[in-house]
């Protein structure tokens, strides 16, 4: 049943950077299913911008591994979704192509950085989308827009073709309106790819099960503390109560390393980003560099003109954190903190099978509300730890506060993505029924 899908969405929330009016598809598990792809995932023949002017006009000569898999299973790639520039943000406001609006409330941000994918789902434009998650970039917009998003275990989905922001933290992951569709999409994209040396051959091939009797749900006090909107905390506690009604038990757990999680996260991700983003020099791709100028002048000029302020701020932060005389105080300490957080989760996940908490401390911000970088960084406090630990984490909608969606986050042991999917599925089936 190969064919062409006509895709002309009413994209009033600016979810897409690029749409493919005639999207070809073939036979397979996702035959004819419209899938939107975040614009930091390379698509052969379709421009891929990372929502940055520095990649204006760049058309990759190759497909990311996940795109190869999607095409093989018949999916129709219908467009590339908006995002924070290079994934650096939690609001999709730093895009060079303008902000995306939240379909649940157009005066609000959709979250980020995979805001376009989440908004396209919430607006009903597509049933499935790919996002990427470095410190919460799938789960945050899923929570803010009221859809489902899974950050897989680090090493479960190939990063080949994902334009790197912070290599040691990020994963491509599935987003959809239901847990079942998230699981279906995950079954397609989580297949071994030897081109990603950080990947393990642990394919995901799972049908979600709502039977969670006996599941031990860890509840970390740190996920309900200072900075978390009490109404959001309350909504999530109700969701945990639903799991208990389904036969799960709760155990208190603790992640003491949370106190330095965010600092460690920002040192590591900006450090890696400062290196990853240095290649955009306008020589091999992107807006042409001025070859009449001297190298350093031309290079600085093209970066200043084509990177937004947040990208330049993070590149500078990362450069500083890795520079001679400071690397020991920042980068080395961040790696130490990361190790402790990983151990905290390992310990907690001996007493519990999954860990539950809110995805975001608040509901979606108003557009333009967060202008101070640090206050925006603080919004990642509940999502970034899973990236530091490399564990799977899913966000599933669990009600509303002020009429805005709240996300329920479930984290699990490494390579137990199936278990967090099942827990989310059980919850979703129960509250939908």
């Amino acid at each position: 049943m190969a064919g062409t899908l006509d895709f002309s969405p009413d994209d009033r929330c600016n979810a897409f950077i690029t749409t493919c009016r005639e999207a070809r598809f073939s036979d397979g598990a996702l035959a004819g299913v419209a899938v939107a792809v975040k614009d930091n995932i390379s698509t052969a023949g379709i421009r891929t911008t990372c929502a940055s002017r520095i990649l204006e006009g760049y058309v990759p000569p190759y497909d990311a591994h996940v795109i190869e898999l999607l095409r093989k299973e018949g999916a129709a790639i219908v467009g590339k979704t908006n995002m924070d520039e290079f994934g650096m943000g939690s609001t999709t406001e730093t895009s060079a192509f303008g902000p995306t609006r939240n379909p649940a409330d157009p005066t609000r941000v959709p979250g980020g950085s995979s805001g376009g994918s989440a908004a396209a789902l919430a607006a009903g434009l597509v049933p499935m989308a790919l996002g990427t998650d470095t410190g919460g970039s799938i789960r945050c917009p899923a929570a803010f827009c009221g859809v489902v998003g899974l950050k897989p275990t680090y090493g479960r989905v190939s990063r080949y073709g994902l334009i790197a922001y912070a290599n040691s933290l990020e994963q491509i992951g599935p987003m959809a309106r239901t847990v079942e569709d998230v699981s279906r999409l995950m079954s397609v994209i989580a297949k071994y790819d030897p081109r990603d040396s950080t990947m393990l051959d642990r394919p995901y091939d799972h049908r979600p099960s709502a039977d969670i009797a006996g599941l031990r749900v860890g509840v970390p006090e740190e996920y309900f503390g200072e900075g978390v909107d009490p109404r959001v905390a309350e909504t999530v506690r109700d969701a945990i109560g639903v799991l208990e009604e389904l036969g799960a038990s709760t155990v208190p757990v603790s992640i003491p390393g949370m106190r330095y999680a965010l600092a460690a996260y920002y040192v590591i991700c900006t450090g890696e980003a400062s290196s990853n983003l240095a290649r955009f020099d306008g020589v091999r791709y992107g807006p042409a560099v001025d070859i009449r100028k001297s190298w350093h002048d031309a290079y600085q000029e093209i970066r200043q003109a084509n990177f937004g302020a947040e990208v330049r701020r993070r590149v500078m932060l990362g450069t500083f954190a890795l520079s001679a005389g400071y690397a020991g105080r920042y980068y080395a300490k961040a790696l130490g903190a990361r190790q402790k957080i990983r151990q905290d989760f390992e310990r907690a996940l001996r007493d519990a099978d999954v860990i539950a908490g809110p995805t975001m401390p608040t509901v979606a911000f108003r557009l333009g509300e967060k202008t101070d970088p640090l206050s925006l960084y603080l919004a990642d406090i509940l999502t970034a730890p899973a990236n530091l630990a490399g564990i799977p984490a899913i966000s599933v909608p669990c009600g509303r506060v002020d009429g805005l969606p709240v996300g329920f986050q479930l984290m699990g042991r490494q390579f137990e993505d199936e278990r967090v999917v099942d827990a989310a599925y059980a919850y979703e089936q129960e509250v939908r029924a």
Binding site: T198, V283, R284, A288, S294, M316, F320, K340, D372
Partner: protein, 89 residues
């Protein structure tokens, strides 16, 4: 505490290019962020290897390369198969 001249030095090291009028704001934001990072001073001990996975290899077998047109397709300007670039000195 970083000063405005520190910020200019970091921008130079990062080769990122910032304009004069951005410097005060970047300095203020940097200081707020670095103050938040101070919590890392309390971290003790070194990091251990991430996990046990080592020795991931590829065999020494040639694979097809991209055609030259594809290599040059996204470049700003080319000459006889080469890509033009600003000169260093």
């Amino acid at each position: 505490m970083v000063t405005e001249s520190d910020i200019e030095h970091i921008a130079e090291l990062a080769d990122i290019g910032i304009s004069r009028d951005e410097v005060p704001e970047f300095t203020r934001q940097f200081n707020a962020i670095l103050e938040y990072f101070e919590v890392l001073d309390t971290v003790e001990g070194e990091s251990a290897p991430a996990d046990g996975i080592t020795n991931v290899f590829r065999e020494d077998e040639p694979r097809p390369c991209l055609p030259q047109e594809a290599v040059l397709a996204n470049a700003g300007s080319t000459e006889n198969g080469f890509i033009k670039t600003p000169r260093v000195m």
